[in-house]
């Protein structure tokens, strides 16, 4: 963006139209899909239907729209709809928890670094840069392969793998959101009202909580939604590489299992792939909507 001034002056005439359009199609579709997926993830176990980890030996690899298996079954006889429901639980909750915790830690560190500056800021920036110097999939790959290490005799349990996966993803998320929070807090920290509050003798954490956090929050929220999308992608990639969650318990894991049967039961591949893609796209639309709203708010000031 070489010349910032020109587009800013020109925007008011055309912006509302763009925003309205965004809200009407993409935003509603995204909201409906996110609501649907969250509903599945939360109430999945109480919905009627076959169990996700029960194999139906009388109907192996049936196509979608079967009378008792609405989305068909895998070649091993697992119900696809039940699998996707349970997969939503793992994929969505793993991503949400990782982004929530990682985002909170990252934001806290980032904001305090921007506020206090000095050596603390220098060290934090350095650590963020080091963590960002390894592409996030490679970093989570390395972390997971070490933390979830198990030999054939003592395979790690599903619960342990999920916990380790979440920890790895948290470590990946911290610098991404931390850097955004720091950058945003740097801008707000030098505003007049912060200086005024300081001169009135307010405590540092009071200023951060009262004056900086509310202003930085929308930016973090917008990137947070995008981060949920990328964490879902990382989870899927890790599962495809065989070191994520095993046994078809998450969407990525279903893909990894179904990949070998692509010729005989393609729905084993395209259904989880589309679920992942739609969810990522929906979170991105949502994040973009939040970002646009934020731009609007800021331009009013």
């Amino acid at each position: 963006m070489p010349e910032n001034s020109t587009p800013v002056i020109e925007t008011p005439a055309e912006e509302p139209q763009v925003k309205k359009k965004r809200k009407s199609i993409g935003f509603y579709l995204a909201s409906v899909w996110i609501f649907f997926v969250l509903f599945l993830a939360t109430f999945g176990p109480w919905l009627p239907g076959p169990a996700w980890d029960e194999s139906f030996y009388d109907s192996l690899g049936v196509s979608p729209f079967h009378h008792s298996h609405i989305l068909g079954t895998t070649m091993d006889g697992y119900d696809m709809w039940a699998g996707l429901q349970h997969g939503a639980r793992i994929s969505i909750f793993v991503s949400l928890i990782a982004v929530l915790i990682g985002g909170s830690i990252g934001s806290f560190v980032g904001i305090t670094a921007a506020y206090f500056r000095g050596k603390y800021d220098l060290i934090v920036t350095m650590i963020f840069n080091i963590m960002l110097s390894i592409p996030n999939l490679v970093l989570s790959l390395a972390l997971l392969s070490v933390l979830a290490y198990s030999d054939e005799a003592h395979p790690a349990s599903l619960a342990r793998r999920v916990v380790v996966l979440i920890i790895s993803l948290i470590i990946v998320i911290i610098p991404i959101l931390g850097r955004i929070a720091r950058g945003s807090a740097l801008q707000w920290g030098s505003r007049e009202f912060v200086l005024a509050s300081k001169s009135m003798g307010s405590k540092n954490f009071f200023i951060i909580r009262k004056h900086i956090l509310p202003n930085v929050a929308p930016a973090i929220l917008a990137i947070g939604f995008l981060a949920v999308g990328s964490v879902i992608i990382v989870e899927g990639s890790l599962a495809l590489l065989g070191i994520g969650i095993p046994g078809g318990a998450s969407w990525g894991s279903m893909l990894a299992n179904g990949r070998g049967n692509i010729e005989f039961s393609p729905h084993e591949v395209y259904l989880p792939a589309l679920f992942i893609a739609f969810t990522v796209i929906a979170f991105n639309w949502f994040g973009d909507y939040v970002r646009v709203q934020l731009d609007k708010r800021e331009s009013k000031i």
Binding site: V138, I262, A277
Partner: protein, 319 residues
Amino acid sequence: MNIARQFLRRLVPMIAIVVIATFLLSLLMRLLPGDPAAIMVPNSPQEVRDQIAHETGLDRGLLGYYWKWLSGVLTGHFGKYYLNGGSREISTVIKDTLPITLLLILYAQIVALVIAIPLGLVSAYKEGKRFDKIASAVLFTTVSFPGFALALIFSLIFAVKLGWVDPIGYVHPTENFGEHIKLMILPVMSLALGLASGYTRLLRTDVIATLKDDYVTMAASKGISNRRVLWRHVFRPSSTTLLTSAALNMGGLIGGTIVIETIFVIPGIGFEIFYSIGARQIVAMQTLIALIAIGYVFFNTMVDLLTQITDPRTRERRA
């Protein structure tokens, strides 16, 4: 002189980052429970394990191990894969696999730019018209479509259902160029589509801003054809952001190729990382991941430096 100083100012933090990152990788590898040599070669006699531990420095403390690894990498001894039957030099593996990954990335970048440049220019030119609206909506969807989902759906449609290409495999370009291109189409497209969408959006925003510049109006009012104005007066200055972003993507793409190479069984460096993790080759894992990190940091620093040299506007703004 000025450039040399700029370079030096970036070199120091760059080296610091690389050193700390690789040290942390060493630490991570040492966190593995049990005897690392036994993890690499499970069913081997104690003498073999001791020898491996001595060779890799795994018998020393963390600092000793890191120093052994670092001095090895600096002198070109990248370590070995330890297999039950013998060992394989990591450096020869890198020599075999890295060019394939770079080729894959290069193809993906070219395809992405070939799609993005005309699309970005036209949608910026027709800003707000139907073409732009449809293109924007489609691109916003494809930009966030995960590469591996795309790869699997592509191979389902084009390889399994239509049978146009083989779903997996790789042929060297020198062996059979036609076959090479044919096998690369699906992996390249899976990587390129997301990239192209990102590039198009970037270029569109830039071109829209440039189109409002006075000299563009001037050029148009002189009666120069639209096509010429678009290419010569608008595209040239708008392309800096696009090319910077394309260059910055190189590092991240190496991460992205891991999954794509694994899905399409392309023997590149990503596939090699996948293999070394599966085979629990600690030294190889550490070296390969470290190389990606080094390449990534180095590339980003270089791009940053180059943009400052080529585009004086960024230099002034920072000063």
